[in-house]
């Protein structure tokens, strides 16, 4: 195989070990509030939950939830069907050599912009996403 992108996209996935779910379930159970602490609040909590559930079910399904900002879809991760892999390879070579000879930032930026045009991806200027 002589194309690194094909190689990457062909890497298999892995199932998480079943024991991991048991760990997570136990950790969640250990971190949940104890039933005793809920005992005094159960009647009020139950009424509040019923009201909240009724309100939730009454919401039309197509009402958008409040947003904190526009969501920008991530770049396409599947291999583009008609990508000129020879040109991309040559460009990646040029970029690597530019870094090796300590090229100017302008030259590097120009090479990266050319690469993004070749991949057909939008300019790399998505709004910053706050770290969760």
């Amino acid at each position: 195989m002589n194309d690194w992108r094909t190689y990457l996209h062909a890497l298999p996935e892995a199932e998480a070990p079943e024991a991991l779910w048991q760990r997570i379930a136990q950790a969640r159970a250990a971190s949940a509030p104890s039933p005793r602490s809920f005992a005094r609040w159960r009647p009020a909590a139950g009424l509040a939950a019923a009201v909240a559930l009724a309100a939730l079910l009454a919401l039309p399904r197509d009402v958008p939830l409040p947003t904190t900002g526009a969501y920008v879809a991530p770049a396409v991760t599947a291999l583009p069907a008609a990508l000129d892999s020879t040109a991309l390879r040559a460009l990646d070579d040029a970029i690597a050599l530019a870094y090796a000879r300590d090229a100017t930032q302008d030259e590097l930026d120009s090479l990266w912009q050319t690469r993004e045009r070749l991949l057909g991806s939008p300019a790399d200027s998505e709004p910053l996403l706050a770290r969760l």
Binding site: I24, P74, A75
Partner: protein, 187 residues
């Protein structure tokens, strides 16, 4: 075609039930995304034990923060960022986030692991954590250099230089005779 991995959909009602502490709903969310989460964590961390810790932490945080999830991004994309953030944080904590520009570092060796781990990682296991993360997140998960810069706490230029080195490294592993360095040395 049904979306898989982090692109899979999850019913709003399941999320609502999970917010209220419904354990069955939480398990449903886990079952829907655990494969994608574990695969991403394994590819970023390079080790199964770290990947398991990262997945556990990410899902615990997801439940904790579910109340603040407002639906402005698909849930899978939101969860993916949690997993990536947890993985990078864990690598830093383990002091495995070693800058590949420190040329004195020895070549990273493939960690011992199961057969599935070896297949999932492939040649990525032979790369430094920052280069591996850049390749995986940019090429496979669609992160922009802006997002990578924020995740790494560095500049976009740093992210791009990491990607270039990562590509060269991977190509060198795949085809050692045709790597840019080999071509340069041959001139």
């Amino acid at each position: 075609m049904n979306a898989t991995g982090f692109g899979a959909q999850i019913d709003d009602l399941v999320l609502a039930r999970a917010r209220r502490g419904d354990g069955a709903a939480f398990e449903q969310i886990y079952r829907r995304y655990s494969r994608a989460a574990y695969t991403l964590a394994l590819r970023l961390c390079g080790r199964g034990d770290l990947a398991e810790d990262v997945v556990q932490e990410a899902f615990m945080k997801a439940i904790e923060k579910l109340g603040s999830y407002r639906g402005d991004a698909p849930f899978g994309a939101w969860l993916k960022r949690l997993v990536a953030n947890c993985a990078i944080d864990r690598l830093r904590l383990e002091k495995r986030w070693i800058d590949p520009e420190l040329a004195a570092l020895p070549e990273p060796h493939q960690e011992a692991g199961g057969e599935a781990q070896v297949e999932v990682l492939g040649l990525l296991a032979r790369m430094s954590a920052p280069a591996r993360a850049t390749l995986v997140l940019h090429e496979l998960e669609g992160y922009s250099h802006t997002e990578l810069a924020q995740l790494f706490g560095k500049s976009e230029s740093y992210s791009k230089s990491l990607l270039s080195r990562g590509i060269a490294r991977l190509r060198g592993l795949l085809e050692p005779e045709a790597s840019p360095r080999a071509m340069e040395e041959a001139r």
